[in-house]
Symmetry: C2
Subunit: 379 residues, 2 copies
């Protein structure tokens, strides 16, 4: 008989103990999903404009690729992401060894934080920038140092000053920015990179790179060991639900991801979808044109309601509600009550705004119809 003579452990009140760092964290989600709101409201949204997804969807060629390969879902994906990495490398004019592919930028952000951050490591970002980055910094025990936005843009000089003051090994910058939609020109980003301490890793999140003016994106320079450019298929390519992002950087720093990444984490159909999406640049161009038109329409909708839209280089428009944070929150809730899913910045200074993703014409029609009513209800 197994365990002969060994008594059952009767210390009934004992249980596994989380390590202190993990124990100290809240069980939280960086964002509440629209599905959770729908369940709470017990009613579906009529316009899904809150998560900066692309309501235009992926290309028909991409949908067809997913459909025709669905039967291969039994195979693990190639852990090297060979085909996708090579296609991205050709597309960007870098070597495949300059690219790491991951299950969305969120995953890559977590892996990057894990490489450079341990308990008490200072990490610099802007107050109100991407919460999932902050979630990862907290998750690895880092000490988040935030600098306020200036004129609704991430403040490059203040970020640099904080990096130097704190001797931070990691700094986060999104360009174009989420949640404000603003951007810096390539020359200014390049200048920021030039003056950044060489041992500080910059995560340059370009999730919205495809929808930005051409002069907002610095030339890709993989000779820089302290820059990781992150891009995604979730936004303009319309594949948020497939989870595919990539980081571009110097070979040594890219190779380091292989130390800890979940090698078999990629979805097989995602590899196929991303490859097909990359191939269909005509569709991408058409979607970008629709996004730009949608942004312009959103500016008009805001103006018709005496609100100012902040100029945007992304697939969303952030609208200044013209009063304080609690007023903008009331507008947000009034829109949600009217079946419009939108979100808003929460940080002081930015919280006067709501953030509305560009969507299909009928969704913008619905938003246009509901916004005046929401504003009237709040006033």
């Amino acid at each position: 008989m197994l365990f002969a003579g060994i008594k059952t452990d009767i210390a009934v009140d004992m249980e596994p103990q989380l390590i202190p760092l993990i124990d100290s964290l809240p069980s939280t989600v960086p964002f509440v999903g629209p599905e959770a709101l729908e369940r709470k409201r017990n009613r579906a949204f009529k316009a899904r404009l809150g998560a900066n997804e692309s309501g235009f969807g992926p290309a028909p060629s991409v949908i067809a690729a997913i459909q025709s390969h669905a039967g291969e879902a039994w195979k693990y994906a190639d852990p090297e992401n060979f085909d996708l990495k090579h296609a991205l490398a050709a597309h960007l004019g870098v070597a495949p060894t300059n690219i790491v592919v991951g299950e969305g930028v969120d995953t890559l952000l977590g892996l990057a934080v894990r490489q450079y951050v341990r308990e008490s490591t200072p990490v610099v970002t802007s107050l109100g920038a991407y919460p999932t980055f902050n979630f990862h910094v907290a998750g690895f025990g880092g000490r988040l140092v935030t600098v306020p936005y200036g004129d609704d843009r991430e403040d490059l000089e203040a970020l640099l000053a904080a990096v130097k003051r704190e001797q931070a090994p990691l700094v986060y910058l999104s360009n174009p920015d989420n949640p404000m939609g603003t951007w810096w020109a390539a020359a200014e980003i390049e200048r920021f990179i030039d003056v950044l301490p060489k041992d500080t890793m910059l995560i340059l999140d370009e999730a919205y790179g495809e929808t930005a003016p051409a002069d907002a994106l610095p030339r890709i320079d993989v000779s820089r060991p302290n820059v990781l450019r992150m891009r995604t298929f979730s936004k303009a390519y319309g594949l948020a639900g497939m989870r595919c992002g990539y980081a571009v950087g110097a070979e040594k720093q890219i190779l380091a991801f292989d130390k800890i990444r979940n090698h078999f984490g990629m979805n097989k159909l995602t590899q196929i979808a991303a490859l097909a999406a990359l191939k269909d640049q005509d569709y991408l161009k058409a979607v970008i044109a629709r996004i730009i038109a949608g942004r312009e329409r959103m500016v008009q909708i805001a103006a018709k309601n005496d609100l100012a839209a902040i100029p945007s280089a992304t697939n969303f428009v952030t609208i200044d509600c013209g009063r304080d944070g609690s007023y903008a929150l009331a507008v947000l809730n009034a829109l949600i009550d009217r079946d419009v899913f939108v979100r808003k910045p929460m940080a002081p200074g930015l919280d006067r705004c709501i953030r509305v993703s560009v969507g299909l014409d009928e969704e913008l029609d619905y938003f246009e119809q509901q916004l005046p009513q929401a504003l009237a209800a709040v006033k």
Copy 2:
């Protein structure tokens, strides 16, 4: 002008420094994928029997669900996995709060390790058990303590002794086991749980639970705070490429995953596929019957070649090549040369074997045809 007066950082030989733990890790992959072997050989495999995937594929109903929802790939998945968690809870007879869904068991293993392991934490597993678990333990700086298999099974008494000796907060056990295919009866696993220190978390990996005899799986008891049962859609359900696993446990320990998991990491189509797969239990039953028949056939193929197949409760059969590890490795390589993708255990004592997944009849035909030739080539 931005950064007026600030000079470019000219310390050109400086670069970002990985934290020491990460720096100490190799850039490695737990397994080489078949695609990498195909690229190296410059030839496709004719039988894909190495990764314990299910060549029978997912259910036609699942393929249809993926196809019909492909157009929704632009939406982020529900971060709460509400529908899937509720369906799993109903299926297993537990509460949704007893379940965490993740991007494959690999991801959940990493999250579990991260919760209980920091630098130098002792973690107990069997020598030769699942390498991806070991990859995560190394990745968080844990000290891996291994105990040898006994009679080709994980040695429960030796695992317990190691846990007590090391005061290990985490122990890994797979039942049925990979890579040997062996298993313990539920009563023996329950006894192991009874005698395990109450503050030691057991990860009970039941990836092959669906193909095991009914009496191999303990009743699910979510009152145990120190047991996490892990299951997957990758094996019998035929969805390895979609990346969906789940852990079942006590509410408090399940909730802890929300502290660190990638809330928006799930693939939208994966949620849909897993739900559809769970619904189609008839297909699952039919596949299990085919897997059992395939195992029996593999036993016969081994016997015809004067080799002994180890009894298996999984979707693969481990074949004892009857000599030492280098001989079995030569057999493996001879099979790969003949376009049969298989793998083998590498640990001392287990390394005399090759591991062959059950597959379609035509793949087993091909294996049956090539095995004698591979053996002849090696002899």
